[in-house]
Assembly symmetry: C2
Homo-oligomer: 266 residues x 2
């Protein structure tokens, strides 16, 4: 495991329950990488409400494509060419490669409901990552193709090459890719058993009466359902493997988390 | 089903793929209500990055406690008394009941991966809700207790009364509740089969080669795992029922979504 970490700063520091804060690239990036949807926030103007958009995005490095999740990476987000966030990114800088639309990107995975003796000590097992960075439009065609493949394969490994590629002219121009240069990031992880106050743990009648423990929660995958126009009789192996492996990993983590310590160490 | 809807405005209107936009209270509120974690965004200052916090929150009405999800509701968020968002809400107004911290709250449920013939027509089945409103600290003790019960029971129905309640003085003062007055909201729903372009559906070789369809995705619940200090031998019925009913509902929706039209109509 790499030791590369995001420096702690005012922007990314986990203040509340700081022992749950994680700054190493691998932990921060893995949560983002395994989340099907990311929540992306931007401020249209100081007078407006901040806006959150659910978007699909994946981490990668166009300049160093073999970089893994423990290394510095950019975040590529996929959207429609004339959507509000794309227009803002376009107008926020004269040079579209010089992004200065500030964004915050967050992904959260809930791993379990943690049930304790009192409402206030109830919790959830979870993993969340937050990234702060500046977004700019990807204008280089090679980088755009790189990001399209990264995103498609990031959702379902190996899918890109199995489909009709490369995207044609109309597809290339209707799809816009945003590159977020990551300035700062951190993760917060809660795992383990319930944590009750000593004063409650001494109450015999309370202990006799209240069930305490963890209800594991995880993302599950059902049997792939063919479309009406599908002609491929068997579900291909790379899809069947994805469903099995990802499902097993999600379920496995939720169960393993219960025996970790509160900060998520096995 | 109630017809009460959020008026369309510049703030909440779904521009891209507008046919997926929903404005009725019931649809918008149900997505929020069934999400274990909400993403809450605020802007500390125009110079700073926007911030997203994963928070636990539930919809309710202190003044009209019997209101259901098809009616106008406030959103109650739960947090630590000295956390950044609480401090901002406190300092943003002289009268703490007169909140003017603008927030955006978003919840997204992914119901399936939609695999089509080309990378660009790939999609996800999903339901997302976004709420825009102003946040203020709840200072009235009765309203705070109402919100604590609302949130605990909103996560796991019936749990509050089964535990050691009411919260004691230390618990009341270390926990802060934020009330978000909802100004505007909307939902966006994608369901159904893949949607491929006519030009691709005419390519016989492509149809013979690429598996198309939907991989259902849903939140699953594992067997409740007792804590080390749990003494209640059987998992109580209200917990066992929650695990079964919620799990069935989540899985059921993900499968049902595949046969809905793209905008999520059965």
């Amino acid at each position: 495991m790499s030791d590369l970490s995001y420096p702690k700063s005012k922007t990314n520091k986990v203040n509340r329950l700081g022992e749950r804060g994680k700054y190493d690239c691998k932990t921060v990036h893995e949560i983002i990488a395994s989340s099907p949807v990311l929540h992306v926030s931007f401020s249209p103007s100081p007078e407006d409400y901040p806006v959150i958009l659910p978007m699909i995005g994946k981490l990668g490095s166009f300049e160093n494509p073999s970089a893994d999740l423990s290394e510095p990476l950019d975040l590529y987000l996929h959207g429609y060419v004339s959507s509000r966030i794309m227009n803002l990114a376009r107008s926020s800088s004269k040079d579209p490669n010089d992004g200065n639309l500030k964004v915050c990107v967050c992904a959260t995975k809930v791993d379990g409901l943690v049930l304790s003796l009192t409402p206030n000590s109830h919790s959830m097992n979870y993993r969340s990552s937050v990234i702060f960075g500046t977004a700019s439009l990807v204008t280089d065609l090679d980088e755009k193709l790189y990001a399209m493949k990264l995103i498609t394969d990031g959702v379902l490994k190996g899918r890109y090459e199995k489909t009709r590629v490369p995207p044609d002219g109309a597809e290339m121009s209707s799809t816009q890719i945003l590159r977020v240069s990551v300035e700062s990031a951190s993760a917060k992880v809660r795992a383990g058993e319930p944590g009750d106050y000593e004063k409650d743990l001494k109450q015999e009648k309370l202990l006799d009466r209240v069930w305490t423990g963890v209800i594991p929660m995880y993302t599950a995958y059902g049997e792939p359902q063919p479309s009406k126009y599908n002609r491929v009789k068997e579900v291909p192996e790379y899809i069947a493997n994805y469903v099995k492996d990802t499902g097993d990993a999600e379920r496995g983590y939720a169960l393993a988390a219960i025996t970790m310590d509160e900060a998520g160490t096995a």
